[in-house]
């Protein structure tokens, strides 16, 4: 069975920290950072990058379109 490994890049300055991606990530990869961006929001980041499978669920639900998803086949 082919396995996939993914990664996301978050446009942290545009992220509003709503947390919708956090609850919709099936692998529990994403968390909100303790630090804040220029607007004062706790932006989303990959807390556990090893678990990411590149399913793009986070990108699809992100209301601000700040998440880009990358995936490689291992």
């Amino acid at each position: 069975m082919a396995s996939f490994k993914g990664a996301i890049s978050v446009d942290t300055e545009r992220c509003k920290g709503c947390g919708v991606c956090v609850v919709n990530c099936p692998m529990g990869v994403i968390s909100l950072a303790k630090e804040v961006n220029g607007k004062g929001y706790n932006y989303a980041y990959m807390a556990e990058p090893d678990k990411c499978i590149g399913c793009a669920s986070c990108g699809i639900v992100c209301p601000d379109g700040v998440i880009s998803v990358y995936k490689v086949k291992l």
């Binding site: 990664a7 609850v23 929001y41 209301p63 998803v69 990358y70 490689v72």
Partner: protein, 271 residues
């Protein structure tokens, strides 16, 4: 393999549509408007009609939608987006015209324009974002507000009927939630009528399919209004955090506004 090895242009599987400008959305964190904007832009990009699309934005939270889409846009007076879209489509039948409205715009002040545009069967696409409240003006009751829902103008909850013998006989009450999507589905001028939501990935995908079909019908010249309602949230005026608002939406909005196709290719869907 490190994260830097994976984040390369050749491995990209998802990113924001190029039809959206780089201007950050002014919507509140977690607002469904952003998601709907994103999927409309993706659909227009996939269909390759961005160079001949004209959008009509409403009055409401989405009033500045023209700043976010890299397509031509007109800003209509409050509630008059379908009338404006009608004019554009009649002058330029080869353009792809869509209106984008909220519930206060489409179902309250613009009820007349909505019903008559649907009744005339104009070949346009109408996107209706229903969050059951007036968002921009501070959370007043909209026609689509649920019974019992607290808003700025119904601080004790919306009451469709006042208690008998309470001394209020003859005083107008708050009325029932308006199901305008079901209402216009019964008009012969509508081609495709559906209700979707955007609170999780599966429903975002379904909503995108519905919006795509609504645009494809228009491109293929099938006469009739293509109407897509999106049940959305308003976490600021519901006074909840974004994730809690989505949960509240599933528990309260969806029983009142069930998802699914209501009319496909001019025929009502049997339930």
């Amino acid at each position: 393999m490190t994260v830097q090895d994976i984040i390369k242009p050749e491995n990209l599987v998802y990113q924001k549509s190029k039809l959206l400008t780089n201007k950050p959305f002014h919507y509140c964190p977690g607002c469904g408007h952003g998601t709907v904007h994103r999927i409309i832009a993706e659909v227009l990009e996939e269909l390759g009609v961005d160079d001949r699309t004209i959008g009509v934005s409403p009055v409401g939270c989405a009033v500045m939608a023209y700043d976010y889409f890299d397509v031509d846009f007109v800003e209509a007076a409050h509630g008059r987006a379908p009338a404006c879209a009608t004019g554009i489509k009649r002058v330029w039948p080869d353009k792809i015209v869509f209106s984008y409205q909220g519930d206060g715009d489409l179902a309250a002040i613009g009820t007349c324009e909505t019903i008559h545009t649907c009744n005339r069967g104009e070949n346009i696409t109408m996107i209706f974002v229903n969050n059951g409240i007036y968002g921009m003006t501070g959370g007043q009751m909209a026609p689509t507000t649920l019974e019992g829902m607290k808003t700025a103008t119904t601080p004790y909850g919306r009451k469709a009927t006042l208690p008998a013998g309470a001394g209020f006989d003859g005083i107008p009450n708050n009325g029932y939630p308006l199901h305008i999507t079901e209402l216009i589905a019964h008009l012969p001028g509508t081609k495709y009528v559906t209700r979707q939501a955007v609170y999780d990935p599966a429903h975002v995908r379904n909503a995108k399919k519905a919006i795509k079909k609504a645009f494809e019908n228009q491109i293929n010249g099938k006469s009739g209004v293509n109407f897509v309602e999106i049940v959305s949230n308003c976490n600021s005026n519901w006074k909840m955090e974004p994730v809690a608002a989505n949960k509240w939406l599933v528990e309260n909005m969806l029983p009142e506004y069930p998802l699914g196709d209501i009319k496909v290719d001019g025929k009502l869907v049997e339930k």
